[in-house]
Subunit: 384 residues, 2 copies
């Protein structure tokens, strides 16, 4: 094949130009349609809001997707292709709907105090509540002399301080809070903070753990765990507010939360840390490794690299949050060590036997994971 | 908010219906445009092929995307949204173009013998070469008595047998091959197979390692490593063939390949295996863990689950491929173990010190990984 710089017969050049102009015109129409669609969806949303109808219908979405797949097959387009395009279109209207809802809070005008409002998560909360029409106040280290004034007539106080200081900060804050005020925290362990909040404030108390960081631009499908403390009915509006922003609210007991998060957060992050540390100790040339990485390996290394682009303090808090967590991590290292003999003896049979037993136990999650990650790899190929 | 089942004023119902019909009509037009675009792209492709022009232009793609972002901003559509839509459209035309190229091989009519053609990877090769117009033959265990006839006038012989048997199979095959025949293998280690092939066949020899499995439907942006053995010019058409199918061909020395793959494949898979094994030993309730998982954790668990949906034998071959690999894995376990004291002492300072040192070393890969994985998480949210 020769390069396109070489001279081409004049008419071929013309034909190519003409085809490219036709494609550009199609693209132009497509953008116009997307814009028109957005406007129609906006009208539906206004109508629904005016009559108090819920805006998101998973079932209607799935019907629409099936219908598009069917049409795609009928006209000779790849069904997966059409599904991808329309999933993206539907997602956009979901994001815009939640953005709209965010603009009108559930209790606009209510006063919200964020303790630790200058931290990354604190600023994030101030932004979301502020944009939804709440009156915002912050209390940071230097503001304790004014604590009484800052707490006056507050409807909601959210503790957004490091895990270790949450109980102590709650104890300092409690005496200043109005009795009807909702007291909440956003730390990633729940037992100790919840107990401290209950002990220092006689009114409504709820523990929250947003499973997402301040880098998240949309709360769409992000999980927030809620561990009720006292007067759940008085706290409900706060959960509704997060749900309106698009988050999935899961209620559970503080002890159950802490157990599960030991696995979901602490263990997973620790395993990733260990892997990153080994790459560092061996001074592996990452650029070289990536060059030889097909998309799936690129994604695997990406999950490791991602950790180290984030805050060391946050991860050490999550990993070292409690003696139970540390015991779990020690167990993990012991379990890892138990593979040594198999490696030393090059015992393929033992490996395969373990592998199959684990695979059987993982099923059907493993097949679902294969499907989901294959889909993502396609997305990675599309973009990078 | 009340449910949609409740009675609504008649006119609201009518208005909603009307808006929904308008949206359906827009979607209908969109599908028609996508179909029309596909037809125009097809004409460009035919014209380019007729005049020997290369079909894929990364620079033209990037220009098109920038232009769409600009237009999006101008008409009041989210630029990222338009970029996503058009990336997906461009990808589809890339995939269709490579599918077309696949239909016309670089040396159609040439005879290709796949040794181990009944295995998963063997069948995959037979399918791709066969569809590209090559004359296909297979040689499996039971066919050795006919080896002479099967090898007659063969232009390319590809060994697609387990790593351990590749050298032995090469020795059996060699004497039957025509001197001009290209001999290649597709095993995931390269030193021993390449040496065995060079020793048994005096003609052109090349080692190949496709970094993708038979489950991959498109080779678009998949990596294939080539380790030249003898007469590289005579082997070039084979590499060109994989490139035409969309794969990225990387040439390197067998020793370098094996070193890098120890990290990229063996270590990464082993670390994932260890993690999965621990979840199993602790009988972690995966459904519960997933319920509490925000998209990023879902992706992390997905990468673990994915491993166990695949072939135990393949992974044991990769992990136990050589004594060097096993030494590497032992080193990894030792390194993991070195974190024990930090955990036992709850030494946050040590953790953060290590973390920051590793983070510095990882940079800028880590920031890029954060960007890429954040993009993927958005895709995961969109779909599941």
């Amino acid at each position: 094949m020769h390069s396109e710089d070489q001279a081409l017969p004049r008419d071929v050049d013309d034909q190519l130009d003409q085809l490219r102009r036709a494609i550009d015109a199609i693209d132009h129409d497509m953008v116009a349609l997307l814009k028109e669609r957005q406007e129609q969806v906006e009208k539906v949303l206004q109508l629904k809001k005016a009559h108090g109808l819920s805006v998101y219908h998973p079932a209607r979405e799935e019907n629409l997707i099936s219908e598009k797949r069917r049409i795609g097959r009928a006209v000779g387009l790849d069904a997966d292709y059409l599904e991808d395009i329309f999933r993206r279109i539907l997602r956009q209207s979901r994001v815009e709907q939640t953005a709209q809802l965010a603009r009108r809070g559930i209790r606009p005008g209510a006063t919200v105090l964020v303790i630790g409002g200058c931290g990354a998560m604190g600023r994030y909360l101030v932004k979301w509540f502020g944009e939804a029409g709440y009156r915002m106040r912050c209390l940071d280290c230097e503001d304790w002399p004014q604590a009484g004034a800052l707490c006056r007539d507050v409807d909601l106080a959210i503790l957004s301080v490091p895990i270790d200081s949450t109980p102590e900060v709650a104890r300092r804050l409690g005496p200043h809070l109005p009795e009807k005020c909702v007291l909440a925290d956003v730390t990633s362990v729940k037992q100790a903070p919840l107990e401290a909040m209950l002990a220092c404030h006689p009114g409504p108390v709820i523990g929250l753990h947003p499973l997402f960081g301040p880098a998240t631009t949309s709360m769409d499908k992000q999980v927030i765990v809620a561990t009720p403390g006292r007067e759940p009915a008085a706290c409900q509006w706060l959960l509704d507010q997060f749900a309106d922003w698009g988050a999935i609210v899961l209620k559970t007991r503080a002890t159950d939360h802490d157990d599960i998060m030991g696995i979901v957060q602490a263990l997973r992050h620790f395993a990733t840390f260990i892997f990153g540390r080994f790459l560092y100790e061996k001074r592996i040339r990452m650029d070289e490794a990536l060059e030889y990485s097909s998309p799936i390996y690129r994604l695997e290394f990406g999950m490791v690299g991602r950790l180290f682009a984030q805050d060391a303090g946050l991860y050490s808090e999550i990993i070292f949050a409690s003696p139970e967590r540390r015991a779990l991590l020690k167990e993990y290292l012991d379990c890892a060590q138990s593979n040594l003999e198999m490696i030393a003896k090059a015992d393929k049979d033992a490996f395969e036997k373990h592998f199959r037993r684990i695979a059987e136990w993982f099923d059907p999650f493993s097949r679902q994971a294969l499907r989901e990650s294959t889909y993502l790899i396609d997305k990675l190929i599309e973009r990078f």
